[in-house]
C-alpha cells in the first residue's frame, strides 16, 4: 500500500495522484496511438466506444455525481446530432462552430428540462425525463424541414479546417481527442467548487442547502453541462452512423446509457469509460458469438456423440440468432450487476488493486456494504 504525502500545493493541484499514476496514463495514451495499426478492422467500433464514453461522462456527471437520474439522455444526443447536421449541411457553417452551436442548443434544452426538474426528486425526475425524451422523439419525427422526418438524413464525413476526416483512423483520433478533452474538462470541473457542490447535492439536498449551496443554480448547471457534452457526442455520433433517423434516439438508447453508468460504476469517471467500452463492444461480441459459438459447442459435444453434437449445434445456432436476444442480455447484465456488484466494473477494479497492494492482508470486509434498512423516500 502506497501513501502519498503531499508536501507542496503543486502536488495538491496536480491532475494525477503521483508520478507513477501519470506514467501509467502516458502509457495508456501511447497504447491508444498504436491501436489503429494493431486492429484496423475494429477502428469504427472503438470510435463508438469513445463517443459512448462522452455520453457516459455526461450521464455520470448528472446521475453519478449530482444524483439526478435521467432516462432521457438519448434525446439530448438526438438534438446534438440533428442540430450539428443542420448547421453544417443546411447553413454551411464550419465544423468546429457547428459542434459548438450544437452543444449550446443541447445545453439550452437541458436548462429548459432542468428548470421544472428542480421541483422533482428521485423517481419523479426519471419519469419526467423519460416523458421529455418521448416528446423529443416525436418532434424529431414531425419537424420534417430540419430533420427530414422518417425518411432519415444522410450525414457527410467530417471536414475540419478544410481537412477531410473521411478515413477511419482520422475519425478515430477525432473521437479520441474529444473524449480526452471531455475527461480533462470534467475531471477539473469535479475538483472545483462546482463539482463539490454537485456531490453535496447528491449526498443530501437538505445538508447541501443548509451549507449554502444554491440548489436551483447547481442543478440547472449540471443539466446544462451534461446536455452540452451530450450535444458534442451527438455531433460525433451523427458522423459515426452516417444516417440519422428519429428512431435511433429511442428510450432503449437512454437505457443503454444508464446501463453504461451502472455497469461502469456510479460516481467515477473511469466507470463511464469502462461502461462505454462494455456497452459499445457487447453487440460486436454478440455478433462474433453468433458466428462462432454454435460451431465450437457443436464440436465439443460432437466428441461425445455425433447426433447429440449436431442437435446441439442446431439448437444453439437457433438460440443465438434470435432477434430479441440482445436487449434481454443487456437486461440480464444490468440485473446481475445491481444485485452482485453495485459498484460496477470500476468497483471490482479497485478491489483487485487493493488486493494486490495489501497482498497478504486483504480483508473482504474493507468493501462490505453497510447493512441498510428501508429508508423512506416518501418524506423528502
Amino acid at each position: 500500500m502506497r501513501f502519498v504525502f503531499k508536501t507542496t500545493y503543486r502536488q495538491d493541484l496536480g491532475l494525477f495522484r503521483d508520478g507513477a499514476q501519470r506514467n501509467w496514463y502516458v502509457v495508456l495514451g501511447l497504447a491508444m496511438l498504436v491501436v489503429p495499426v494493431l486492429v484496423p478492422s475494429y477502428l469504427v467500433d472503438i470510435s463508438l466506444v469513445f463517443i459512448y464514453g462522452l455520453c457516459g461522462l455526461s450521464l455520470m456527471v448528472l446521475a453519478g455525481y449530482t444524483g439526478l437520474v435521467s432516462l432521457g439522455h438519448a434525446a439530448f444526443l438526438g438534438i446534438g446530432a440533428y442540430a450539428h447536421v443542420y448547421f453544417v449541411q443546411d447553413w454551411g457553417l464550419p465544423w468546429v462552430i457547428s459542434v459548438a452551436l450544437a452543444a449550446a442548443v443541447s445545453a439550452g434544452v437541458g436548462v429548459l428540462v432542468g428548470l421544472p426538474a428542480l421541483r422533482m426528486t428521485g423517481v419523479y425526475l426519471t419519469i419526467a425525463t423519460l416523458a421529455f425524451a418521448l416528446i423529443i422523439q416525436e418532434v424529431l419525427t414531425r419537424w420534417e424541414r430540419v430533420t427530414h422526418g422518417l425518411k432519415g438524413r444522410p450525414v457527410d464525413k467530417p471536414v475540419i479546417f478544410g481537412v477531410s476526416l473521411a478515413h477511419d483512423a482520422a475519425f478515430y483520433f477525432l473521437c479520441l481527442a474529444a473524449l480526452i478533452g471531455g475527461l480533462w474538462l470534467t475531471a477539473n470541473l469535479l475538483r472545483s467548487p462546482t463539482g463539490r457542490a454537485w456531490v453535496a447535492i447528491r449526498d443530501s439536498e437538505i445538508a447541501a442547502q443548509s451549507m449554502g449551496v444554491n440548489l436551483a443554480r447547481y442543478k440547472t448547471l449540471a443539466f446544462a453541462y451534461s446536455a452540452a457534452l451530450m450535444g458534442v457526442a451527438g455531433a460525433l455520433f451523427a458522423h459515426k452512423v452516417g444516417f440519422l433517423a428519429p428512431d435511433i434516439f429511442s428510450v432503449l438508447l437512454s437505457i443503454q446509457f444508464l446501463l453504461m453508468v451502472v455497469v461502469g460504476g456510479l460516481g467515477s469517471l473511469h466507470g463511464a469509460v469502462f461502461g462505454a467500452a462494455f456497452v459499445a463492444m457487447l453487440p460486436v461480441l454478440i455478433s462474433e458469438a453468433r458466428d462462432r459459438v454454435p460451431a465450437w459447442a457443436g464440436q465439443v459435444i460432437a466428441l461425445a456423440g455425433k447426433d447429440a453434437g449436431h442437435a446441439t449445434f442446431l439448437g444453439l445456432d437457433r438460440f443465438v440468432k434470435q432477434p430479441g436476444l440482445e436487449p434481454g442480455l443487456f437486461g440480464l447484465i444490468l440485473v446481475l450487476f445491481i444485485l452482485f456488484e453495485p459498484l460496477g466494473v470500476y468497483g471490482r477494479w479497485r478491489k483487485i488493486q487493493v488486493y494486490f497492494s495489501t497482498f497478504p492482508l486483504y480483508k473482504r470486509a474493507t468493501f462490505r456494504r453497510q447493512k441498510t434498512y428501508m429508508r423512506s423516500e416518501r418524506l423528502r
Partner: protein, 283 residues
Amino acid sequence: MLNGLAVGCIYGLVALGFVLIYKATELVNFAQGDLMMLGAFTCYMFVVWYGLGYWVAFALAVAIVALFGAGLDSAILRRVLGQPQFAVVMLTIGLGAMFRSFASIVWGSEIYTLPTPFSAKATRLAGVTVSHEYVSIIAGTILLCAALYAFFTFTRVGVAMQAASQNQLAAYYMGIPVKLMFSLIWAISAGVAAIAGILLAPVSLIDINLGFIGLKAFAAAVLGGFGSIPGALAGGVTIGLIELFSGAYLPQGVKDVAAYVVLLLVLAVRPQGMFGSVARKKV
C-alpha cells in the same frame, strides 16, 4: 368517448399496479407494462395453442403471472430493499428488457389477435353503436376495483397488507408476516397487470411492445398522485380521454405525446398530482 374511456381504464389498471407496489414497498416497477404483455401472451398461448376456453385461459394466465410476480419479489426484488431508488429503477428496467426478450424468443415477434367471446360484436344502444370489447374492459375494471376494494377493507389479509405498507416495523411487531405480505402485493399487482393485458388484447393487438403502454400508465399514476389508488384510476381515465380528444381536434402526432405533455405539466406545476398528499422530510 367509450373508446377513450376504455383505453383510460387500461391505463388506470396498469397504474393501479404501480401504485399498489409503490405504496407497499416504495419500489417503482418499470416492468409493470411488460408483466401486462406477459399476461396477454400467456392467455393467447392457452387459447390458441392449447385450445382452452377463454375463461379458463383467463384464469390460468392471471394465476401464472401473479405467481410469477410473487416469485420475482421473493427471489430478486427483496434483495434491493433499502438500496437507493435508482438501483431499483435500473433493476426493473433490466427485468422488463429480459421479459420482452423472453417473449420474443418463446412466442416470436409477430403480432397476434386474441379471439374472445366479445370480439367483433356490437350492440346499438340509444342510437350509438357500442362494441362489446370496450364494454368488457370497462365492466372488468369496475368489477376488479370493487373486488380489490372489498379485499383491502374487509378481509384479514387485506387489512394486514395495508398495515404492512403503512409501517413495516410496527406491522412486524404486530405479528404480520411482512415479507409474505409484500410477495402477495406483488402477486396482486402482477395479476392486475395480466388482467389489463388480457382485456386490452382484443382491442389492441398482442406483440412484444405492448409493454410500452406502461409508460403512458406512468402518466396516469403521476397524474393521480403516485400513492393514491382512486387517483390512479381517475388519472388513467383522464389520460385516455385527453388522448381521444387531442386525436380528434389537434394536429396529427399530438395524440401520441399528449400523455407525456400532460405528465410533464403535472410534474412541473403540481408534483403531488391530483390526489397526492404533500409530505416534508424530517431531518
